[in-house]
């Protein structure tokens, strides 16, 4: 059974979309992520135009992160000082990202850029997560464990105290991180949790207890900003596709919550790293394989 997507102007199998949504929701529930980095490329691979896939993914990211953000807000696990700075950086980044998407789309190279962007960012993140997991395991075995090392980011000026996270760092550190995550959200539809969380732990040195809440709250607000900007600037959010994705991914995430306690955190981290690596490999394959059609047409 097919459903017509009014903004994408194509009809697509509803069961394919529901399966995609359920899988995205299940994986996002299992790994505690927004699922945008899976949703966006998979929708493009399923035949949804690239810009529509990016725009519509942002509302799915908002839906999947908002419930978690509310839960963490109730448990007071959100560092408001940190999240305010992240959102300021995120707002500027998202604005740039949305306009970049508009410019790249009009050049006709949006799929190339998105595939290269996704493949690069996902491969790097996967390698980072896997190497950090390996390092942590080695340190745990040796008996000395240090959460993060001091790097150049701790030498930046305008340092302030983040009471909730018990940190004394420059506001430029979260501002820069928020800015890059914002660009990512605006340009690719990704919430950026899979990059933000490692950055908060390994670069900023935040405590794990407030990392998830702060990250989810930031993703919720930045994806909400992105939803507004995508609709007003790019008109690339498909209503019907969004409803299908919201419903199926919310159900998938809820189902995943019944499995999550049965899986060890270490195993989950490694599995997450490999999952990202598999998606990156699929995208790289799309870039190197001989295309079925050597010419395609876009009606503007």
């Amino acid at each position: 059974m097919n459903v017509y997507l009014p903004i994408a102007e194509i009809s697509i199998n509803i069961y394919l979309l529901l399966t995609l949504g359920l899988s995205i929701g299940f994986l996002s529930g299992l790994f505690g992520i927004g699922g945008g980095f899976i949703a966006s490329p998979l929708l493009i691979l399923a035949g949804v135009p690239a810009t529509i896939a990016v725009g519509t993914t942002t509302i799915q990211v908002f839906a999947s992160s908002s419930t978690g953000a509310i839960n963490h807000l109730q448990k007071k696990n959100v560092d408001f000082q940190m999240v305010t700075i992240l959102i300021i950086g995120g707002f500027i980044g998202t604005l740039i990202g949305v306009y970049t998407l508009k410019a790249v789309n009009s050049s006709g190279l949006v799929e190339n850029y998105l595939y290269i962007f996704y493949a690069t960012i996902l491969s790097l993140t996967a390698l980072f997560i896997l190497s950090e997991s390996a390092k942590e395991n080695a340190k745990k075995r040796k008996g000395k464990f240090k959460l993060h090392d001091h790097s150049w980011i701790h030498g930046l000026p305008l340092k302030i105290k983040f009471r909730k996270s018990k940190l004394y760092i420059s506001i430029f550190a979260p501002l820069i991180i928020g800015f890059f995550i914002g660009i990512l959200t605006g340009f690719t539809g990704i919430g950026g949790g899979f990059i933000l969380v490692p950055c908060m732990i390994y670069i900023l040195g935040m405590k794990t207890v407030s990392v998830i809440g702060t990250s989810l709250f930031n993703i919720t607000i930045v994806s909400l900003i992105s939803v507004f900007l995508q609709v007003f600037i790019n008109h690339n959010l498909d209503f019907i596709l969004a409803i299908i994705l919201i419903v199926s991914s919310s159900l998938g995430a809820a189902i995943a919550s019944r499995f999550i306690e049965k899986i060890k955190v270490d195993v989950l981290k490694v599995a997450f790293g490999f999952l990202i690596l598999i998606i990156a490999s699929l995208l790289i394959y799309e870039l190197v394989r001989t295309p079925i059609y050597l010419q395609t047409i876009d009606i503007l």
């Binding site: 017509y4 908002s66 190279l109 190339n112 008109h235 409803i243 019944r258 190197v288």
Partner: protein, 227 residues
């Protein structure tokens, strides 16, 4: 059933006349949420003295032709924009004519610039439209007593707008008469409202989606999650 009754009645009225004429079983297509494309029947009567060429041409608009080019190991796009290209194009003929034969008819080449054999770009555009089922060449099926018909599909990726239908009577590669009709493609119901809301009332569009996202994810969270 209704479609065939219309065709039957049309044939009955035509059997009295000697000229050539044509009709469609419908002149309006509504795009709704369950739109998967639509089949249309084109039918009419042909006088034995001349050949028939029917051309369906959609709205002319800007298009982008993306050509895949291999750079070292990566396949990338090389994009070129063109203006005034029909978003839908179909050719029917009786007796069946190849594209090379159509190129010989000056009036048709002049009226439908997509039908040019001099441009490699236009050939590529025709091929790309064909991949999306937005371009095809079909023969008209000859029935009894100079009657003809053919079925074709308006694909689900069609843009809303008007499709002009030209009915050419041709003798010795010269057009002796032309008739024109219009097929309307309209977005209707929920689809039309959604599109209008996105462009005219974007704030409400976002508000409804955001509200739905919050409510549905909260609802599924409270009802399905493990307590």
């Amino acid at each position: 059933m209704k479609k065939y009754l219309i065709i039957f009645l049309f044939f009955l009225t035509l059997s009295e006349s000697n000229g050539s004429s044509f009709s469609l079983d419908k002149y309006e297509i509504n795009i709704k949420t369950n739109f998967l494309g639509e089949e249309i029947v084109i039918f009419g009567e042909k006088s034995p003295e001349h050949d028939l060429i029917i051309i369906l041409e959609g709205k002319r608009q800007a298009i982008r032709l993306n050509e895949k080019i291999k750079k070292k190991i990566l396949w990338t796009n090389k994009s070129t924009q063109y203006r005034n290209i029909p978003n839908f194009f179909a050719i029917f003929s009786l007796p069946e004519k190849s594209l090379n034969e159509l190129f010989l008819i000056k009036e048709i080449k002049k009226n439908h610039h997509l039908l040019s054999n001099s441009s490699q770009e236009l050939y590529k555009i025709r091929q790309s439209l064909k991949q999306k089922s937005l371009y095809f060449e079909k023969k008209l099926i000859k029935g009894d007593e100079n009657l003809f018909f053919s079925r074709f599909e308006i694909p689900d990726n069609i843009n809303s707008g008007l499709i002009d239908i030209y009915f050419y009577k041709v003798i010795d590669n010269k057009v002796i008469d032309v008739d024109k009709k219009i097929l309307k493609i309209k977005k209707k119901g929920l689809i039309q409202k959604i599109e209008l809301m996105l462009y005219k009332n974007s704030l409400l569009y976002v508000f409804i989606l955001v509200l739905f996202a919050i409510l549905f994810s909260l609802m599924s969270n409270y009802t399905l999650r493990k307590k």
